[in-house]
């Protein structure tokens, strides 16, 4: 990631903190049957990380559910029990990597430190990277299956009713 990209991401993360500080999110707690130990604050942290990875844009790309709920639903329903165990291990490790005593929370870091932290762990190969990749993959699915994205960027039509096979780009 070059300097210009990094600065842009710092801006996002700072903005994210302003708008959606995960520790005081108004999102109601949802009990995920296969993730019973992920409590409200941790759910919010996962949602916050998802937003850092791929910013949610509710205004321009609305979806039936918020990112946090979507991603946790997929983790709960679509990962095997082994994959869920790996996911939880990655989640535990990312919290420990931040602070072995878990006293430091990610929002306590400066935006630059947050960026450096995420960049470091995205570029790794261990369970934390796997955890972040899972969040990223489901965040991408959430964004790319939004109505506006599908219609405006993927030419999706529910009832096209025609097929033209030789159209000038």
């Amino acid at each position: 990631m070059n300097r210009r990209d990094a600065i842009k991401n710092v801006g996002l993360i700072a903005g994210g903190l302003t708008l959606i500080p995960y520790a005081c999110s108004l999102t109601p707690e949802i009990v995920y049957s296969n993730l019973p130990n992920i409590k409200k604050e941790q759910q919010d942290l996962i949602g916050w990380l998802c937003n850092c990875i791929l910013p949610e844009d509710i205004e321009n790309f609305p979806t039936p559910e918020i990112r946090q709920n979507f991603v946790l639903t997929q983790v709960n329903d679509c990962l095997t029990s082994e994959e869920q165990a790996e996911f939880l291990l990655g989640f535990e490790n990312i919290q420990l990597a931040l602070s072995p005593t878990k006293e430091i929370k990610i929002e306590m870091l400066t935006p630059e430190e947050q960026l450096a932290f995420l960049t470091l762990h995205f570029e790794g190969e261990g369970v934390i990277t796997g955890f972040l990749e899972t969040l990223k993959n489901y965040s991408l699915l959430h964004f790319e299956s939004s109505e506006k994205y599908m219609k405006n960027y993927l030419s999706y039509e529910f009832m096209p009713g025609r097929y033209l096979g030789n159209v000038t780009v």
């Binding site: 996002l12 791929l54 979806t63 095997t80 994959e83 025609r162 097929y163």
Partner: protein, 563 residues
């Protein structure tokens, strides 16, 4: 007429059974149509039909539980969040796999016609002559000419979009207009004409309405809007399934009694009368048994279940299954070999793209061993062919940058092309189904043992497909060619056929040229179980034509009092 007595009984309310029910009801015969699964009413029972992709909780994907509990059903391309409710779940109806076999089933009114792939290619004279010429199975008792008018009859009711291509290997039918081909499909077709005399790339004929006609209006069906989510059931009736056409058509006559949740246990045989007199049914929910009676029984429960019912129809006269004097029932099962695929790219037409969608792709009729034996394997393969513009999306990184990249998604100007093989497999006695001697299902019916596998002929055919299509793709200037043997298990093609094959000789076949059991003439089998060989074409159109032909023969015979 007593409430349990009819003129005809049809077992199985799928595509074949639907045709039999329509023909009998339309011509005034009181008909009982039995279906082991629940009713699915057109329009009313398509719960996901109008859902948008973003409305699905898992965006169309399966859950881990779906996959874990259904390793067989989930191997089917259409078993996804939007249509999984139409498939039999693995635990619901177990069977014994002597060798791995993916038995993909749809137990409901309409059967698999709700979720089918809708490709409807006629067989040719070369397909019906194949076993006799090449010395496998037994000679078909019918030829293309016997079936030709029935193909037309069925196509006119079903609605088939296609081109008249003038090929003897894939006869033309009564077609509705086709969708456009795209530039790369046309290019590949032209290139093959330049390089080969016998290799054609044509529009894949499909059961979709592209034109309105009086019979479709009468059926209440509208034009296909290319939604390409047909497996959910179509609220427009744009593609053919039994639910939107055959069954309501038959019900409208007032002569059809449709009984869902009715598991047929066996066909009843009267030793004195020396003919079948009806069927024994187990209520799927209450498990209560009831007998129904009729002059004629059509067994169209889908290939393997038709075998199961007949094998389970035991009597003093037929201790090994109804009509099974020669012991061949359940043997000579065959299917289609879909293991080979090939992908590549084409960099021509970078300034061209497509708009909209269509519910079919292109088709390469069989070109191997058509007129004479020319390879070290028997028979040959057809193939699908598709071409679509490649789209590129940069998903590297994270943050606002990643979002910006997603908004820059674009077509690259490169076309992705692909083809998949549809190979004929050779029916063999060793590929067979039989009743399990120990295990029964919850309705007290023996489980089916399935013992079916590929053979050396199939392996050779796969290699030939790779070689020939690599050559064809290379000649067309395609690049980055990659072949793949997906190792899919038999059954996953959902084209299983045979076990109650037609033939001329009662010693070597079960059914005559009119689909009557040689040894019990008032029982007809007209679904995939009757097939003597498999050819390469998707078989549903042929099942329907054979059924319509046999049903009308049965009607003639009943009117004459001969059965």
């Amino acid at each position: 007429m007593k409430s349990n007595t009819f003129d005809t009984i049809v077992v199985g309310a799928g595509m074949s059974g639907g045709w039999a029910a329509k023909e009998f009801s339309e011509q005034g015969f009181k008909t009982l149509l039995l279906e082991r699964g629940p009713n699915v009413e057109h329009l009313k029972d398509y719960p996901t039909t109008n859902m948008q992709p973003w409305e699905f909780k898992h965006r169309g994907r399966l859950t881990a539980q779906d996959i874990e509990e259904n390793p067989i059903a989930s191997s089917c391309y259409a078993f996804r969040e939007d249509a999984k409710h139409f498939f039999v779940k693995d635990k619901e109806h177990p069977y014994v796999q002597k060798k791995p076999f993916d038995w993909i089933r749809g137990y409901q009114v309409g059967g698999k016609s709700i979720m089918w792939a809708r490709q409807v290619q006629r067989w040719s004279q070369y397909d019906f002559e194949g076993p006799a010429r090449d010395g496998f199975a037994v000679d078909w008792p019918i030829r293309y000419n016997d079936l030709e008018p029935w193909y037309t009859y069925v196509e006119q009711f079903v609605g088939v979009s296609g081109n008249k291509d003038g090929l003897d290997t894939l006869p033309d039918g009564d077609f509705l207009k086709p969708w456009e081909s795209n530039v790369v499909e046309e290019y590949f077709s032209d290139e093959m004409k330049k390089h080969y005399e016998d290799r054609h790339v044509i529009y894949g004929r499909c059961a979709h309405l592209t034109e309105s006609k009086p019979q479709f209006i009468e059926q209440g069906r509208g034009l296909c809007m290319s939604r390409r989510i047909c497996q959910r059931g179509c609220p427009l009736g744009g593609y053919f399934n039994a639910n939107s056409t055959l069954i309501p058509w038959a019900l409208k006559t007032g002569n059809l009694t449709l009984k869902p949740n009715s598991v047929v246990h066996s066909v009843l045989y009267d030793e004195t009368l020396q003919k079948a007199i009806g069927v024994r049914v187990i209520d799927a929910k209450t498990k209560e048994s009831q007998d129904y009676f009729a002059k004629v029984v059509f067994v169209t429960a889908a290939t393997l279940n038709t075998n199961l019912i007949l094998l389970n129809s035991k009597s003093n006269r037929f201790p090994n299954g109804l009509g099974n004097d020669n012991g061949l029932m359940g043997k000579y099962i065959a299917f289609h070999n879909y293991r080979a695929t090939i992908n590549a790219q084409y960099k021509g037409f970078p300034d061209r793209t497509i708009e909209g969608a269509k519910p079919t792709s292109h088709y390469v009729p069989r070109f191997r061993n058509v007129y004479k034996q020319e390879t070290d394997f028997l028979r040959g393969y057809a193939a699908g062919f598709g071409a679509s513009p490649e789209r590129e999306t940069d998903r590297e990184g994270f943050g606002e940058n990643l979002k910006d990249q997603l908004l820059q998604t674009k077509e690259t100007g490169v076309w992705n092309v692909n083809s998949h093989m549809m190979g004929e497999t050779i029916p063999k006695a060793s590929n067979q189904v039989s009743l399990d001697h120990e295990k029964v299902d919850e309705w007290g019916i023996p489980l089916l043992n399935i013992d079916v596998d590929y053979d050396e002929n199939d392996e050779k055919m796969i290699q030939d497909f790779f070689e020939q299509f690599t050559e064809m793709f290379t000649k067309a200037g395609f690049v980055n060619i990659q072949t793949n043997d997906n190792k899919r298990r038999p059954g996953n093609d959902i084209h299983e056929m045979g076990g109650v094959r037609m033939g001329k000789d009662p010693k070597t076949s079960l059914l005559n040229g009119w689909n009557q059991l040689h040894e019990c003439k008032n029982v007809f089998v007209t679904d995939g179980a009757c097939m003597t060989s498999t050819s390469t074409q998707n078989p549903s159109l042929t099942f329907m034509a054979i059924t319509a032909r046999a049903a009308n023969y049965a009607i003639e015979q009943m009117k004459k009092g001969l059965i």
